[in-house]
């Protein structure tokens, strides 16, 4: 298994797509931090709700709130990047025919797929660490301009470790859904389309949120969607670094699933997509590139 992960790492770390995605991701993170900075220093003194919003943005670019901003970026736009990355890592093996080259040498398909998924998550972990480090550098540069102190306590570092693990856990069901869709369609584009469509339907349109308004079973169903449970986990990450998104956004924390439920529901989805992927990969014929 370790040998397979080393082989996968060599492939993914040398692939131009990995570096292009990482670069765009970091540029967008920098843009977000700089926009918050400009809004914080460039606007006149405010009061009331506006003041709270601006204070939230200010806290988000100072320590330790900058960690929450980086992790929020990982779980926001990062989800889209993770879907593209996972679809590329699995789908290209079909289009280039390299899957056949590998499996003709080592027929243990479960092990191959698990190593590939583990390497994708490992790469996402490295990207998350880079995002946190990059955001921290930006925070270090901006703090003196805002006359703020740079203070990180040991407690913040513990929260940071937990926050990174939580952020990766949030990405897991999207990566596994994309993996399943890519294996199902045997195509990079198929996996990409299904993975991104799910994110867009869930987050972009807010269509699923309408279920909550219907109440009863519909509200229960909504509370079992990936997105709703992931909201709990991402808000935990913001709270851990002193940010309070509920004070500036129409967010009713009482409507969110509990952390335990969120953790379990994400685990159930992840296991479901993993089992489906393994079953599909194990039972299907591997034919030529296309």
């Amino acid at each position: 298994m370790i040998n397979l992960i080393r082989a996968e790492w060599l492939k993914l770390s040398r692939r131009p797509l990995s570096w292009v995605l990482l670069s765009i991701f970091l540029v967008l993170l920098a843009a977000q931090v700089l926009v918050q900075f400009v809004l914080t220093v460039g606007m006149p003194v405010r009061s009331g709700a506006m003041s709270a919003q601006f204070e939230e943005w200010r806290r988000g670019i100072l320590f330790p709130g900058i960690f929450a901003t980086a992790l929020s970026h990982v779980n926001g736009l990062g989800g889209i990047f993770a879907v593209i990355f996972a679809a590329g890592a699995i789908g290209s093996e079909y289009s280039w025919g390299t899957l056949r080259t590998h499996l003709a040498r080592d027929p243990a398909r479960d092990r191959y797929l698990l190593a590939k998924l583990a390497t994708i998550m490992l790469t996402l972990a490295v990207a998350t660490l880079l995002a946190v480090a990059f955001a921290s550098l930006l925070g270090l540069a901006l703090a003196p301009l805002l006359n703020a102190s740079i203070s990180v306590t040991p407690g913040d570092l513990v929260h940071l470790i937990l926050g990174i693990l939580r952020a990766l856990y949030v990405l897991l069901p999207y990566v596994l859904l994309t993996a399943y869709a890519t294996l199902l369609t045997r195509s990079l584009l198929g996996g990409l389309a299904i993975g991104l469509s799910y994110i867009i339907v869930e987050a972009g349109f807010g269509a699923l949120a309408l279920l909550r308004v219907l109440g009863g079973v519909w509200a229960l169903a909504y509370n079992l969607t990936i997105g709703q449970n992931i909201n709990t986990l991402t808000i935990m990450n913001r709270h851990a670094f002193g940010l309070r998104p509920e004070t500036t956004a129409p967010l009713d924390l009482s409507q969110l699933p509990s952390p335990l439920q969120a953790t379990l529901v994400v685990a159930v989805y992840s296991v479901l997509f993993l089992v489906l992927s393994l079953y599909l990969f194990r039972t299907r014929d591997i034919t030529g590139p296309g």
Partner: protein, 301 residues
């Protein structure tokens, strides 16, 4: 020693379409075995089943004594394969592509350099795979197949897209592999190529094996005789001789299975029997002619 490859009634259907139909193959240790057939005959699907990539609908396949369905890891441990076009990562160099395979198999980078040298790719090893010529890609595919020093090498159309010089180069490489004690299972639709390097062949058509055996036994040698009339008399005279084993019609002539040095004897026999001979010469069919003959027979049936 047992057969290196053995199949028992191996069959594959895709929906209603039978792609491989109850084939029984036997490949012996150390030989270069040719697996022939026109495009779409089912060769690649058969290789896919031998490598555990495609599940047979029925029948069994044994590689190096192991059942591929049940003991795939053991069966394929000492098998190297190149299936159709060599498939590698276009953004990686040839060397890094082999390093990916070597890492997965727990092999060292030194072994990578050895096989690159073996296929004469050292000079271009650090160039991207996407910049390689077709011949270099084929050689890299063979290098990948050799990486873990397999006992059995399966090559599917290894000379596809190569110019005559490239084809000769690959043929020499295959011969040298066989010379080092390995068994080579060579899939091709190029009959002259197989005739030159294989000891035994199987011919596949529409998923069925229509002939299998030593190349020497499939390539027919004898004497061709064309007479001026008196065909029945000529045939009766020829059948009366002990060294004529078979007579068949070949257009308006006879094809006689007899030693080539009997040409003068045949001529004397027929002339003495009152049959005028218009043409008499040694005759040898190529594998290609044999292939066309047996496939035509199948069509008629």
């Amino acid at each position: 020693m047992d057969a290196v490859i053995r199949t028992e009634e191996l069959t594959k259907r895709f929906g209603d379409r039978v792609v491989v139909d109850r084939i029984n193959l036997e490949v012996r240790p150390g030989e270069i075995f040719g697996f022939l057939g026109p495009n779409g005959a089912g060769k690649t699907t058969t290789i896919g089943m031998l490598l555990g990539l495609i599940r047979p609908t029925s029948g069994r396949a044994f590689v190096l004594g192991y059942d591929v369905q049940r003991e795939a890891a053991a069966a394929l441990r000492e098998v190297g394969a190149m299936i159709e076009a060599p498939a590698f990562y276009p953004y990686l160099s040839g060397r890094d592509n082999l390093r990916v395979l070597a890492r997965a198999a727990g092999l060292s980078d030194r072994r990578v350099d050895e096989v690159l040298a073996q296929v004469d790719l050292t000079a271009r090893a650090r160039d991207r795979f996407s910049t390689y010529s077709q011949g270099m890609k084929q050689r890299l595919g063979i290098a990948a197949a050799l990486l873990h020093e397999p006992r059995l090498i399966m090559l599917d159309e290894p000379t596809n897209g190569l110019d005559p010089a490239g084809q000769l180069e690959i043929r020499n490489l295959v011969r040298s592999l066989s010379g080092s004690g390995r068994t080579v299972f060579l899939c091709s639709h190029l009959l002259h190529e197989v005739e030159q390097i294989c000891q035994r062949v199987a011919i596949l058509k529409r998923g069925r094996i229509i002939a299998q055996g030593e190349v020497a036994s499939l390539v027919r040698r004898g004497v061709l005789v064309r007479t001026i009339g008196a065909r029945e008399r000529a045939e009766a005279l020829l059948r009366s001789t002990p060294w004529v084993s078979r007579i068949s019609e070949h257009g308006d002539a006879f094809l006689i299975d007899a030693p080539g040095d009997r040409t003068a004897d045949i001529n004397a026999l027929l002339t003495a029997g009152g049959v005028q001979v218009a043409e008499i010469r040694r005759y040898e069919t190529s594998l290609e002619e044999f292939f066309l003959e047996v496939t035509a027979e199948r069509e008629q049936q």
